[in-house]
Protein backbone atom coordinates (compact mmCIF):
# COMPACT_ATOMS: atom_id res chain seq x y z
CA UNK A 1 0.00 0.00 0.00
CA UNK A 2 2.96 2.30 0.52
CA UNK A 3 3.37 3.16 -3.15
CA UNK A 4 -0.21 4.46 -3.22
CA UNK A 5 1.04 7.21 -0.96
CA UNK A 6 4.52 7.42 -2.42
CA UNK A 7 4.60 6.30 -6.04
CA UNK A 8 8.12 6.37 -7.45
CA UNK A 9 8.13 5.66 -11.16
CA UNK A 10 6.17 7.54 -13.79
CA UNK A 11 3.79 4.63 -14.56
CA UNK A 12 3.10 4.27 -10.83
CA UNK A 13 2.36 7.97 -10.58
CA UNK A 14 -0.01 7.89 -13.53
CA UNK A 15 -1.72 4.82 -12.12
CA UNK A 16 -2.23 6.55 -8.77
CA UNK A 17 -3.69 9.54 -10.59
CA UNK A 18 -6.25 7.44 -12.43
CA UNK A 19 -6.98 5.54 -9.28
CA UNK A 20 -7.74 8.78 -7.47
CA UNK A 21 -10.15 9.87 -10.20
CA UNK A 22 -11.79 6.43 -10.32
CA UNK A 23 -12.12 6.33 -6.55
CA UNK A 24 -13.75 9.72 -6.57
CA UNK A 25 -16.12 8.70 -9.37
CA UNK A 26 -17.04 5.53 -7.51
CA UNK A 27 -17.82 7.33 -4.26
CA UNK A 28 -19.88 9.97 -6.02
CA UNK A 29 -21.65 7.29 -8.06
CA UNK A 30 -22.66 5.44 -4.91
CA UNK A 31 -23.85 8.65 -3.26
CA UNK A 32 -25.98 9.55 -6.28
CA UNK A 33 -27.39 6.05 -6.62
CA UNK A 34 -28.41 6.04 -2.96
CA UNK A 35 -30.06 9.45 -2.93
CA UNK A 36 -31.84 8.96 -6.25
CA UNK A 37 -34.12 6.18 -5.07
CA UNK A 38 -37.78 7.20 -5.16
CA UNK A 39 -39.85 8.06 -2.06
CA UNK A 40 -36.99 9.21 0.12
CA UNK A 41 -37.50 12.24 2.35
CA UNK A 42 -36.71 15.47 0.55
CA UNK A 43 -33.55 16.31 2.48
CA UNK A 44 -31.77 13.15 1.32
CA UNK A 45 -30.96 14.30 -2.23
CA UNK A 46 -30.01 17.72 -0.91
CA UNK A 47 -27.45 16.13 1.38
CA UNK A 48 -26.22 13.88 -1.42
CA UNK A 49 -25.66 16.70 -3.89
CA UNK A 50 -24.47 19.41 -1.53
CA UNK A 51 -22.90 17.35 1.20
CA UNK A 52 -19.50 16.57 -0.34
CA UNK A 53 -18.84 20.17 -1.39
CA UNK A 54 -20.05 21.67 1.89
CA UNK A 55 -18.05 19.15 3.88
CA UNK A 56 -14.84 19.92 1.98
CA UNK A 57 -15.32 23.67 2.21
CA UNK A 58 -15.96 23.42 5.93
CA UNK A 59 -12.93 21.22 6.45
CA UNK A 60 -10.58 23.11 4.15
CA UNK A 61 -11.60 26.77 4.37
CA UNK A 62 -13.86 27.51 7.29
CA UNK A 63 -12.23 25.43 10.01
CA UNK A 64 -8.60 26.28 9.15
CA UNK A 65 -9.63 29.93 8.89
CA UNK A 66 -10.94 29.86 12.45
CA UNK A 67 -7.84 28.05 13.70
CA UNK A 68 -5.62 30.65 12.08
CA UNK A 69 -7.57 33.48 13.70
CA UNK A 70 -7.06 31.76 17.04
CA UNK A 71 -3.36 31.19 16.37
CA UNK A 72 -2.90 34.87 15.63
CA UNK A 73 -3.69 35.60 19.31
CA UNK A 74 -1.25 33.00 20.66
CA UNK A 75 2.52 32.63 20.89
CA UNK A 76 4.61 30.79 18.33
CA UNK A 77 4.00 27.42 19.98
CA UNK A 78 0.27 28.09 19.99
CA UNK A 79 0.08 27.54 23.77
CA UNK A 80 0.21 30.91 25.51
CA UNK A 81 -2.48 33.50 24.87
CA UNK A 82 -0.78 36.79 24.02
CA UNK A 83 -3.71 39.02 23.10
CA UNK A 84 -2.88 41.48 20.36
CA UNK A 85 0.91 41.13 20.71
CA UNK A 86 1.43 39.63 17.25
CA UNK A 87 -0.53 42.42 15.63
CA UNK A 88 1.25 45.04 17.69
CA UNK A 89 4.58 43.66 16.49
CA UNK A 90 3.45 43.88 12.86
CA UNK A 91 2.51 47.51 13.30
CA UNK A 92 5.64 48.55 15.23
CA UNK A 93 8.60 46.47 13.99
CA UNK A 94 10.49 48.26 11.17
CA UNK A 95 10.70 45.05 9.14
CA UNK A 96 6.94 44.68 9.07
CA UNK A 97 6.33 48.37 8.55
CA UNK A 98 8.35 48.09 5.36
CA UNK A 99 6.19 45.12 4.38
CA UNK A 100 3.03 47.13 4.99
CA UNK A 101 4.39 50.10 3.07
CA UNK A 102 5.29 47.91 0.10
CA UNK A 103 1.88 46.24 0.15
CA UNK A 104 0.31 49.68 0.09
CA UNK A 105 2.34 50.63 -3.00
CA UNK A 106 1.40 47.37 -4.73
CA UNK A 107 -2.30 47.61 -4.07
CA UNK A 108 -2.38 51.27 -5.06
CA UNK A 109 -0.26 51.18 -8.21
CA UNK A 110 -1.02 47.79 -9.78
CA UNK A 111 -4.81 48.19 -10.15
CA UNK A 112 -4.54 51.76 -11.43
CA UNK A 113 -1.64 51.02 -13.78
CA UNK A 114 -3.20 47.88 -15.23
CA UNK A 115 -6.65 49.45 -15.59
CA UNK A 116 -5.41 52.63 -17.26
CA UNK A 117 -3.24 50.72 -19.73
CA UNK A 118 -5.96 48.15 -20.36
CA UNK A 119 -8.56 50.83 -20.96
CA UNK A 120 -6.41 52.86 -23.32
CA UNK A 121 -5.45 49.78 -25.27
CA UNK A 122 -9.04 48.49 -25.42
CA UNK A 123 -10.20 51.81 -26.87
CA UNK A 124 -7.32 52.06 -29.31
CA UNK A 125 -7.67 48.60 -30.85
CA UNK A 126 -11.48 48.47 -30.68
CA UNK A 127 -12.85 47.39 -34.07
CA UNK A 128 -9.57 47.69 -35.91
CA UNK A 129 -8.73 44.98 -38.45
CA UNK A 130 -6.08 43.50 -36.16
CA UNK A 131 -8.11 43.67 -32.94
CA UNK A 132 -8.05 39.95 -32.18
CA UNK A 133 -4.30 39.54 -32.56
CA UNK A 134 -3.60 42.77 -30.70
CA UNK A 135 -5.70 41.60 -27.77
CA UNK A 136 -4.15 38.15 -27.66
CA UNK A 137 -0.68 39.69 -27.34
CA UNK A 138 -1.65 41.65 -24.23
CA UNK A 139 -3.70 38.81 -22.88
CA UNK A 140 -1.06 36.10 -23.12
CA UNK A 141 0.78 37.02 -19.89
CA UNK A 142 -2.39 35.97 -18.04
CA UNK A 143 -1.98 32.42 -19.28
CA UNK A 144 1.56 31.92 -18.10
CA UNK A 145 2.44 31.48 -14.45
CA UNK A 146 3.56 34.39 -12.32
CA UNK A 147 6.72 32.36 -11.84
CA UNK A 148 7.25 32.36 -15.62
CA UNK A 149 6.52 36.09 -15.84
CA UNK A 150 9.00 36.71 -13.03
CA UNK A 151 11.73 34.82 -14.88
CA UNK A 152 10.96 36.78 -18.06
CA UNK A 153 11.31 40.08 -16.25
CA UNK A 154 14.26 39.07 -14.12
CA UNK A 155 16.05 38.56 -17.39
CA UNK A 156 14.91 42.00 -18.59
CA UNK A 157 16.45 43.52 -15.43
CA UNK A 158 19.64 41.41 -15.60
CA UNK A 159 22.78 43.32 -14.66
CA UNK A 160 26.34 43.08 -15.92
CA UNK A 161 29.09 45.41 -14.69
CA UNK A 162 30.01 48.44 -16.76
CA UNK A 163 32.27 47.70 -19.71
CA UNK A 164 30.93 44.18 -20.23
CA UNK A 165 28.18 43.46 -22.77
CA UNK A 166 24.78 43.79 -21.13
CA UNK A 167 22.44 40.82 -21.55
CA UNK A 168 19.36 42.41 -19.95
CA UNK A 169 17.45 44.64 -22.36
CA UNK A 170 16.75 47.44 -19.88
CA UNK A 171 20.37 47.88 -18.87
CA UNK A 172 21.33 47.74 -22.55
CA UNK A 173 18.99 50.65 -23.21
CA UNK A 174 20.39 52.51 -20.18
CA UNK A 175 23.93 51.98 -21.48
CA UNK A 176 22.96 52.98 -25.01
CA UNK A 177 21.84 56.34 -23.71
CA UNK A 178 25.12 56.75 -21.86
CA UNK A 179 23.93 55.73 -18.40
CA UNK A 180 25.49 53.38 -15.88
CA UNK A 181 24.07 49.85 -15.66
CA UNK A 182 21.99 49.31 -12.52
CA UNK A 183 21.11 46.42 -10.24
CA UNK A 184 17.41 47.09 -10.49
CA UNK A 185 16.30 44.42 -8.02
CA UNK A 186 18.78 45.20 -5.25
CA UNK A 187 18.26 48.85 -4.34
CA UNK A 188 15.19 49.77 -2.28
CA UNK A 189 12.79 51.40 -2.71
CA UNK A 190 12.99 51.33 -6.53
CA UNK A 191 13.15 47.51 -6.61
CA UNK A 192 9.57 47.29 -5.31
CA UNK A 193 8.44 49.32 -8.31
CA UNK A 194 10.38 47.02 -10.62
CA UNK A 195 8.34 44.11 -9.23
CA UNK A 196 5.12 46.11 -9.50
CA UNK A 197 5.74 46.54 -13.23
CA UNK A 198 5.67 42.76 -13.60
CA UNK A 199 2.26 42.52 -11.91
CA UNK A 200 0.87 45.31 -14.11
CA UNK A 201 2.23 43.47 -17.14
CA UNK A 202 0.29 40.38 -16.06
CA UNK A 203 -2.96 42.07 -15.09
CA UNK A 204 -3.45 44.56 -17.92
CA UNK A 205 -4.85 41.84 -20.19
CA UNK A 206 -7.62 41.12 -17.73
CA UNK A 207 -8.51 44.82 -17.49
CA UNK A 208 -8.47 45.14 -21.25
CA UNK A 209 -10.79 42.17 -21.82
CA UNK A 210 -13.46 43.22 -19.35
CA UNK A 211 -13.32 46.88 -20.36
CA UNK A 212 -13.37 46.02 -24.05
CA UNK A 213 -16.59 44.06 -23.55
CA UNK A 214 -18.05 47.00 -21.62
CA UNK A 215 -17.09 49.45 -24.38
CA UNK A 216 -18.71 47.27 -27.02
CA UNK A 217 -21.88 47.23 -24.95
CA UNK A 218 -22.30 51.03 -24.96
CA UNK A 219 -25.54 51.67 -26.88
CA UNK A 220 -25.04 53.25 -30.29
CA UNK A 221 -27.63 55.90 -29.53
CA UNK A 222 -25.45 57.40 -26.81
CA UNK A 223 -22.44 57.65 -29.08
CA UNK A 224 -24.55 59.01 -31.92
CA UNK A 225 -26.08 61.65 -29.69
CA UNK A 226 -22.66 62.71 -28.44
CA UNK A 227 -21.39 62.99 -31.98
CA UNK A 228 -24.34 65.09 -33.01
CA UNK A 229 -23.36 67.37 -30.15
CA UNK A 230 -19.92 67.59 -31.65
CA UNK A 231 -17.92 65.30 -29.31
CA UNK A 232 -14.98 63.59 -30.98
CA UNK A 233 -11.71 61.91 -30.03
CA UNK A 234 -10.57 62.72 -26.51
CA UNK A 235 -13.81 64.45 -25.54
CA UNK A 236 -15.86 61.45 -26.60
CA UNK A 237 -13.51 59.27 -24.53
CA UNK A 238 -13.71 61.43 -21.38
CA UNK A 239 -17.37 62.38 -21.43
CA UNK A 240 -19.02 59.35 -23.00
CA UNK A 241 -16.86 56.23 -22.93
CA UNK A 242 -15.51 56.52 -19.38
CA UNK A 243 -18.81 57.36 -17.65
CA UNK A 244 -20.52 54.55 -19.57
CA UNK A 245 -18.05 51.90 -18.43
CA UNK A 246 -17.58 53.27 -14.91
CA UNK A 247 -19.08 50.24 -13.12
CA UNK A 248 -16.86 47.92 -15.16
CA UNK A 249 -13.82 50.04 -14.30
CA UNK A 250 -14.57 49.67 -10.60
CA UNK A 251 -15.05 45.92 -10.93
CA UNK A 252 -11.69 45.69 -12.69
CA UNK A 253 -9.90 47.91 -10.14
CA UNK A 254 -11.21 45.96 -7.16
CA UNK A 255 -10.64 42.54 -8.75
CA UNK A 256 -7.04 43.39 -9.54
CA UNK A 257 -6.57 44.84 -6.06
CA UNK A 258 -7.66 41.53 -4.53
CA UNK A 259 -5.41 39.54 -6.82
CA UNK A 260 -2.51 41.85 -6.01
CA UNK A 261 -2.97 41.51 -2.26
CA UNK A 262 -2.88 37.72 -2.41
CA UNK A 263 -0.11 37.36 -5.01
CA UNK A 264 3.11 36.15 -3.55
CA UNK A 265 4.77 34.41 -6.48
CA UNK A 266 6.48 37.44 -8.03
CA UNK A 267 8.24 38.56 -4.88
CA UNK A 268 9.16 34.99 -3.97
CA UNK A 269 10.65 34.24 -7.39
CA UNK A 270 12.39 37.54 -8.13
CA UNK A 271 13.88 38.60 -4.81
CA UNK A 272 12.66 36.12 -2.22
CA UNK A 273 11.42 39.11 -0.26
CA UNK A 274 14.96 40.29 0.38
CA UNK A 275 16.25 43.84 -0.11
CA UNK A 276 13.11 45.31 1.46
CA UNK A 277 10.76 44.02 -1.23
CA UNK A 278 8.49 41.80 0.87
CA UNK A 279 4.71 42.19 0.87
CA UNK A 280 2.14 40.72 3.28
CA UNK A 281 1.41 37.64 1.17
CA UNK A 282 5.12 36.88 0.90
CA UNK A 283 6.00 37.75 4.49
CA UNK A 284 3.26 35.37 5.61
CA UNK A 285 5.11 32.55 3.89
CA UNK A 286 8.51 33.57 5.20
CA UNK A 287 7.32 33.91 8.82
CA UNK A 288 5.25 30.72 8.76
CA UNK A 289 7.56 28.34 6.98
CA UNK A 290 11.13 29.61 7.14
CA UNK A 291 11.26 31.81 10.27
CA UNK A 292 9.22 29.36 12.33
CA UNK A 293 6.93 32.11 13.60
CA UNK A 294 3.51 30.76 12.65
CA UNK A 295 1.88 33.18 15.08
CA UNK A 296 3.17 36.19 13.14
CA UNK A 297 2.30 34.37 9.91
CA UNK A 298 -1.22 33.80 11.19
CA UNK A 299 -1.60 37.46 12.15
CA UNK A 300 -0.38 38.49 8.68
CA UNK A 301 -2.86 36.11 7.03
CA UNK A 302 -5.69 37.48 9.15
CA UNK A 303 -4.59 41.00 8.26
CA UNK A 304 -4.74 40.04 4.59
CA UNK A 305 -8.24 38.71 5.14
CA UNK A 306 -9.31 41.93 6.87
CA UNK A 307 -7.96 44.08 4.03
CA UNK A 308 -9.44 41.92 1.28
CA UNK A 309 -12.96 41.65 2.69
CA UNK A 310 -14.23 45.21 2.15
CA UNK A 311 -12.77 45.23 -1.35
CA UNK A 312 -14.68 42.06 -2.20
CA UNK A 313 -17.93 43.36 -0.75
CA UNK A 314 -17.59 46.51 -2.83
CA UNK A 315 -16.61 44.47 -5.87
CA UNK A 316 -19.69 42.25 -5.66
CA UNK A 317 -21.98 45.26 -5.33
CA UNK A 318 -20.46 46.89 -8.39
CA UNK A 319 -20.60 43.61 -10.30
CA UNK A 320 -24.37 43.53 -9.71
CA UNK A 321 -24.71 47.11 -11.00
CA UNK A 322 -22.47 46.38 -13.95
CA UNK A 323 -24.48 43.27 -14.85
CA UNK A 324 -27.75 45.17 -14.58
CA UNK A 325 -26.48 47.61 -17.16
CA UNK A 326 -25.15 45.05 -19.54
Amino acid sequence: MLWLMKPETVPEKIFVMFLAIALFALVMGIVLAVVDRPRLPKWVPVVGYLGPAVLLITFGLLWPGLLTIKQSFFDHQNIQFVGLDNYVRIFTDTLFLTVLRNTFFWVLIVPIGATVLGLIYAVLVDRTPFEKLAKTLIFLPMAISMVGASIIWKFMYEYKPEGVNQIGLINQIVVMFGGEPQQFLLAPPQNTFMLIIVMIWIQAGFAMTVLSAAIKAIPDEIIEAAKVDGATGMRLFWWVTIPSVRPAIIVVLTTIAMGTLKAFDIVYTMTGGQFDTSVIANEFYTQSFTQDQPNIGAALAVLLFIIVTPIIVYNVRQMRISEGER
Partner: protein, 294 residues
Amino acid sequence: MSHDTPRKLTRKEQRDVDSKTRLASPAASLIAVLIAIFWTVPTAGLLITSFRPQADIRRSGWWTVFVDPAFTLDNYGEALQANNMLNSFVNSFIITIPAVIIPIILALLAAYAFAWIDFKGRSILFAAVFALQVIPIQVTLIPLLTQYVQWGLAGTYWTVWLSHTIFGLPLAIFLMHNFMKEIPASLIEAARVDGAGHVRVFFQVLMPLLVPAIASFGIFQFLWVWNDLLVSLTFASTEYSPMTKVIAGLSGSFGSKWYLLSAGAFISMLVPMIVFLSLQRYFVRGLLAGGVKG
Protein backbone atom coordinates in the same frame (compact mmCIF):
# COMPACT_ATOMS: atom_id res chain seq x y z
CA MET B 1 -20.44 61.29 -41.54
CA SER B 2 -22.62 58.99 -39.51
CA HIS B 3 -25.89 60.80 -40.25
CA ASP B 4 -25.95 60.11 -43.95
CA THR B 5 -24.96 56.45 -43.62
CA PRO B 6 -27.87 54.45 -45.07
CA ARG B 7 -30.07 52.83 -42.40
CA LYS B 8 -29.52 49.42 -43.98
CA LEU B 9 -26.15 48.99 -42.29
CA THR B 10 -26.19 46.72 -39.26
CA ARG B 11 -24.98 47.99 -35.91
CA LYS B 12 -21.64 46.35 -36.33
CA GLU B 13 -21.01 47.69 -39.82
CA GLN B 14 -22.02 51.13 -38.71
CA ARG B 15 -19.48 51.01 -35.93
CA ASP B 16 -16.79 49.67 -38.21
CA VAL B 17 -17.28 52.71 -40.37
CA ASP B 18 -17.08 54.99 -37.35
CA SER B 19 -13.98 53.41 -35.94
CA LYS B 20 -11.99 54.01 -39.09
CA THR B 21 -12.01 57.70 -38.36
CA ARG B 22 -10.74 57.07 -34.86
CA LEU B 23 -7.64 55.05 -35.56
CA ALA B 24 -6.68 57.39 -38.36
CA SER B 25 -4.91 59.40 -35.66
CA PRO B 26 -1.22 58.49 -35.91
CA ALA B 27 -0.58 59.22 -32.24
CA ALA B 28 -3.23 56.70 -31.22
CA SER B 29 -1.75 54.03 -33.48
CA LEU B 30 1.70 54.73 -32.12
CA ILE B 31 0.58 54.29 -28.50
CA ALA B 32 -1.19 51.03 -29.36
CA VAL B 33 1.90 49.71 -31.10
CA LEU B 34 4.16 50.77 -28.20
CA ILE B 35 1.98 48.96 -25.69
CA ALA B 36 1.91 45.87 -27.88
CA ILE B 37 5.72 45.94 -28.10
CA PHE B 38 6.14 46.40 -24.37
CA TRP B 39 3.92 43.37 -23.80
CA THR B 40 5.65 41.14 -26.33
CA VAL B 41 9.36 41.93 -26.26
CA PRO B 42 10.15 40.58 -22.75
CA THR B 43 8.69 37.18 -23.60
CA ALA B 44 10.29 37.14 -27.03
CA GLY B 45 13.66 37.98 -25.45
CA LEU B 46 13.60 35.03 -23.10
CA LEU B 47 12.25 32.72 -25.83
CA ILE B 48 15.09 33.65 -28.18
CA THR B 49 17.56 33.25 -25.32
CA SER B 50 16.34 29.73 -24.65
CA PHE B 51 17.51 28.72 -28.14
CA ARG B 52 20.96 30.35 -27.95
CA PRO B 53 24.20 28.53 -27.13
CA GLN B 54 25.21 28.79 -23.46
CA ALA B 55 28.36 30.81 -24.08
CA ASP B 56 26.49 33.33 -26.23
CA ILE B 57 23.85 33.88 -23.58
CA ARG B 58 26.53 34.92 -21.11
CA ARG B 59 28.50 37.06 -23.52
CA SER B 60 25.91 39.03 -25.49
CA GLY B 61 22.30 40.19 -25.46
CA TRP B 62 19.60 38.19 -27.23
CA TRP B 63 19.03 41.04 -29.67
CA THR B 64 22.39 40.32 -31.26
CA VAL B 65 20.92 37.20 -32.90
CA PHE B 66 19.48 39.44 -35.57
CA VAL B 67 22.97 40.22 -36.85
CA ASP B 68 24.73 37.07 -35.68
CA PRO B 69 22.26 34.17 -35.57
CA ALA B 70 23.26 30.99 -33.73
CA PHE B 71 20.66 28.60 -32.39
CA THR B 72 20.65 25.31 -30.54
CA LEU B 73 18.27 22.96 -28.76
CA ASP B 74 20.88 21.97 -26.17
CA ASN B 75 19.35 24.13 -23.43
CA TYR B 76 16.11 22.21 -23.63
CA GLY B 77 17.94 18.91 -23.49
CA GLU B 78 19.93 20.00 -20.45
CA ALA B 79 16.98 21.59 -18.71
CA LEU B 80 14.99 18.38 -18.95
CA GLN B 81 17.83 16.42 -17.36
CA ALA B 82 18.85 18.95 -14.76
CA ASN B 83 17.19 19.23 -11.37
CA ASN B 84 14.45 16.71 -12.06
CA MET B 85 12.80 19.04 -14.54
CA LEU B 86 11.31 16.18 -16.57
CA ASN B 87 10.01 14.60 -13.39
CA SER B 88 8.41 17.87 -12.34
CA PHE B 89 6.85 18.25 -15.79
CA VAL B 90 5.13 14.90 -15.24
CA ASN B 91 4.17 16.01 -11.73
CA SER B 92 2.52 19.14 -13.11
CA PHE B 93 0.20 16.97 -15.20
CA ILE B 94 -0.48 14.49 -12.43
CA ILE B 95 -1.35 17.27 -10.01
CA THR B 96 -3.42 19.26 -12.48
CA ILE B 97 -5.70 16.65 -14.10
CA PRO B 98 -7.52 15.39 -10.97
CA ALA B 99 -7.43 18.88 -9.44
CA VAL B 100 -9.48 20.10 -12.41
CA ILE B 101 -11.88 17.17 -12.82
CA ILE B 102 -12.84 16.64 -9.18
CA PRO B 103 -13.88 20.20 -8.26
CA ILE B 104 -15.86 20.50 -11.51
CA ILE B 105 -17.96 17.45 -10.65
CA LEU B 106 -18.44 18.43 -7.01
CA ALA B 107 -19.37 21.96 -8.02
CA LEU B 108 -21.80 20.79 -10.68
CA LEU B 109 -23.65 18.67 -8.14
CA ALA B 110 -23.69 21.42 -5.52
CA ALA B 111 -24.77 24.02 -8.07
CA TYR B 112 -27.56 21.70 -9.20
CA ALA B 113 -28.88 21.49 -5.66
CA PHE B 114 -28.63 25.26 -5.24
CA ALA B 115 -30.32 25.97 -8.54
CA TRP B 116 -32.97 23.27 -8.91
CA ILE B 117 -33.77 21.59 -5.59
CA ASP B 118 -35.93 23.61 -3.27
CA PHE B 119 -34.89 23.30 0.36
CA LYS B 120 -34.94 25.34 3.52
CA GLY B 121 -31.99 27.67 4.02
CA ARG B 122 -30.92 27.41 0.41
CA SER B 123 -30.19 31.06 -0.18
CA ILE B 124 -28.36 31.46 3.13
CA LEU B 125 -26.13 28.48 2.43
CA PHE B 126 -25.43 29.68 -1.10
CA ALA B 127 -24.53 33.14 0.17
CA ALA B 128 -22.20 31.51 2.71
CA VAL B 129 -20.42 29.46 0.05
CA PHE B 130 -20.12 32.54 -2.11
CA ALA B 131 -18.77 34.59 0.77
CA LEU B 132 -16.07 32.00 1.46
CA GLN B 133 -14.34 33.15 -1.70
CA VAL B 134 -13.11 35.99 0.47
CA ILE B 135 -10.81 33.74 2.42
CA PRO B 136 -7.25 34.15 1.17
CA ILE B 137 -5.77 30.65 1.00
CA GLN B 138 -2.91 31.87 3.18
CA VAL B 139 -5.33 31.76 6.11
CA THR B 140 -5.85 28.02 5.68
CA LEU B 141 -2.36 26.71 4.97
CA ILE B 142 -0.85 26.06 8.40
CA PRO B 143 -3.88 24.30 9.95
CA LEU B 144 -4.30 22.20 6.80
CA LEU B 145 -0.65 21.23 6.80
CA THR B 146 -0.84 20.29 10.47
CA GLN B 147 -3.85 18.10 9.71
CA TYR B 148 -2.12 16.41 6.77
CA VAL B 149 0.91 15.68 8.91
CA GLN B 150 -1.33 14.08 11.54
CA TRP B 151 -2.90 11.88 8.89
CA GLY B 152 0.55 10.86 7.67
CA LEU B 153 -0.30 12.14 4.21
CA ALA B 154 1.89 15.26 4.15
CA GLY B 155 3.84 15.83 0.95
CA THR B 156 1.87 13.37 -1.21
CA TYR B 157 -0.18 14.05 -4.31
CA TRP B 158 -3.31 13.31 -2.28
CA THR B 159 -3.02 16.42 -0.13
CA VAL B 160 -2.18 18.59 -3.13
CA TRP B 161 -5.26 17.33 -5.00
CA LEU B 162 -7.45 17.78 -1.96
CA SER B 163 -6.20 21.31 -1.32
CA HIS B 164 -6.64 22.47 -4.91
CA THR B 165 -10.11 20.93 -4.98
CA ILE B 166 -11.16 22.78 -1.84
CA PHE B 167 -9.67 26.11 -2.92
CA GLY B 168 -11.38 25.88 -6.30
CA LEU B 169 -14.83 24.94 -5.02
CA PRO B 170 -16.40 28.29 -3.99
CA LEU B 171 -15.66 29.92 -7.34
CA ALA B 172 -16.67 26.77 -9.23
CA ILE B 173 -20.02 26.51 -7.44
CA PHE B 174 -20.69 30.19 -7.99
CA LEU B 175 -19.91 30.05 -11.73
CA MET B 176 -21.78 26.80 -12.37
CA HIS B 177 -24.77 28.11 -10.47
CA ASN B 178 -24.83 31.25 -12.60
CA PHE B 179 -24.75 29.25 -15.80
CA MET B 180 -27.26 26.70 -14.52
CA LYS B 181 -29.77 29.37 -13.56
CA GLU B 182 -29.87 30.50 -17.19
CA ILE B 183 -31.32 27.20 -18.34
CA PRO B 184 -35.10 27.56 -18.75
CA ALA B 185 -37.01 25.98 -15.87
CA SER B 186 -39.55 24.56 -18.33
CA LEU B 187 -36.94 22.11 -19.64
CA ILE B 188 -36.40 20.67 -16.18
CA GLU B 189 -40.11 20.66 -15.33
CA ALA B 190 -40.85 18.78 -18.53
CA ALA B 191 -38.27 16.12 -17.72
CA ARG B 192 -39.63 15.76 -14.19
CA VAL B 193 -43.19 15.35 -15.47
CA ASP B 194 -41.85 12.53 -17.63
CA GLY B 195 -40.76 10.88 -14.39
CA ALA B 196 -37.06 11.66 -14.51
CA GLY B 197 -35.28 11.72 -11.14
CA HIS B 198 -32.52 14.13 -10.21
CA VAL B 199 -29.79 11.98 -11.70
CA ARG B 200 -31.51 11.76 -15.09
CA VAL B 201 -32.35 15.45 -15.15
CA PHE B 202 -28.77 16.22 -14.27
CA PHE B 203 -27.06 14.00 -16.82
CA GLN B 204 -29.55 14.03 -19.69
CA VAL B 205 -31.00 17.52 -19.59
CA LEU B 206 -28.45 19.77 -17.91
CA MET B 207 -25.03 18.36 -18.71
CA PRO B 208 -25.20 18.82 -22.49
CA LEU B 209 -26.22 22.44 -22.02
CA LEU B 210 -23.45 23.09 -19.52
CA VAL B 211 -20.51 22.17 -21.73
CA PRO B 212 -19.47 25.81 -22.30
CA ALA B 213 -19.69 26.53 -18.55
CA ILE B 214 -17.61 23.48 -17.75
CA ALA B 215 -15.07 24.55 -20.35
CA SER B 216 -14.90 28.07 -18.87
CA PHE B 217 -14.27 26.95 -15.35
CA GLY B 218 -12.09 24.08 -16.53
CA ILE B 219 -9.66 26.51 -18.14
CA PHE B 220 -9.56 28.71 -15.07
CA GLN B 221 -8.88 25.83 -12.78
CA PHE B 222 -6.35 24.34 -15.19
CA LEU B 223 -4.37 27.58 -15.43
CA TRP B 224 -4.72 28.19 -11.70
CA VAL B 225 -3.44 24.76 -10.69
CA TRP B 226 -0.77 24.46 -13.37
CA ASN B 227 0.58 27.92 -12.58
CA ASP B 228 0.22 27.67 -8.81
CA LEU B 229 3.27 28.12 -6.63
CA LEU B 230 2.02 28.65 -3.07
CA VAL B 231 0.00 25.43 -2.70
CA SER B 232 2.75 23.23 -4.07
CA LEU B 233 5.43 24.98 -2.00
CA THR B 234 3.39 24.30 1.10
CA PHE B 235 2.06 20.82 0.47
CA ALA B 236 4.10 18.99 -2.20
CA SER B 237 7.34 17.27 -1.22
CA THR B 238 10.34 17.69 -3.52
CA GLU B 239 9.67 14.44 -5.32
CA TYR B 240 6.13 15.46 -6.23
CA SER B 241 6.78 19.11 -7.02
CA PRO B 242 5.40 20.74 -10.17
CA MET B 243 7.47 22.82 -12.61
CA THR B 244 6.61 26.18 -11.09
CA LYS B 245 8.19 25.20 -7.78
CA VAL B 246 11.32 23.79 -9.40
CA ILE B 247 11.78 26.87 -11.59
CA ALA B 248 11.20 29.28 -8.72
CA GLY B 249 13.85 27.32 -6.82
CA LEU B 250 16.27 27.49 -9.75
CA SER B 251 15.74 31.23 -9.96
CA GLY B 252 16.92 31.60 -6.39
CA SER B 253 19.87 29.25 -6.49
CA PHE B 254 21.26 29.69 -10.01
CA GLY B 255 20.31 33.24 -10.82
CA SER B 256 22.84 33.35 -13.61
CA LYS B 257 22.18 29.98 -15.25
CA TRP B 258 19.97 31.56 -17.86
CA TYR B 259 20.32 28.67 -20.32
CA LEU B 260 18.52 26.41 -17.82
CA LEU B 261 16.04 28.98 -16.56
CA SER B 262 14.95 30.19 -19.99
CA ALA B 263 14.41 26.71 -21.39
CA GLY B 264 12.77 25.46 -18.20
CA ALA B 265 10.44 28.45 -18.02
CA PHE B 266 9.29 27.87 -21.59
CA ILE B 267 8.71 24.19 -21.08
CA SER B 268 6.40 25.09 -18.20
CA MET B 269 4.69 27.88 -20.14
CA LEU B 270 4.06 25.83 -23.26
CA VAL B 271 1.15 23.81 -21.90
CA PRO B 272 -0.93 26.69 -20.49
CA MET B 273 -0.29 28.72 -23.64
CA ILE B 274 -1.64 25.92 -25.84
CA VAL B 275 -4.68 25.43 -23.60
CA PHE B 276 -5.28 29.14 -23.46
CA LEU B 277 -4.91 29.89 -27.15
CA SER B 278 -7.10 26.99 -28.23
CA LEU B 279 -9.85 27.71 -25.69
CA GLN B 280 -9.57 31.49 -25.45
CA ARG B 281 -13.25 31.98 -26.30
CA TYR B 282 -14.38 30.06 -23.21
CA PHE B 283 -11.81 31.76 -21.03
CA VAL B 284 -13.10 35.21 -21.94
CA ARG B 285 -16.68 34.06 -21.39
CA GLY B 286 -15.85 32.83 -17.91
CA LEU B 287 -13.93 36.01 -17.14
CA LEU B 288 -16.92 38.15 -18.03
CA ALA B 289 -19.20 35.95 -15.92
CA GLY B 290 -17.18 36.92 -12.85
CA GLY B 291 -14.70 34.11 -12.74
CA VAL B 292 -11.61 35.60 -11.24
CA LYS B 293 -9.61 34.18 -8.44
CA GLY B 294 -6.73 35.85 -6.67
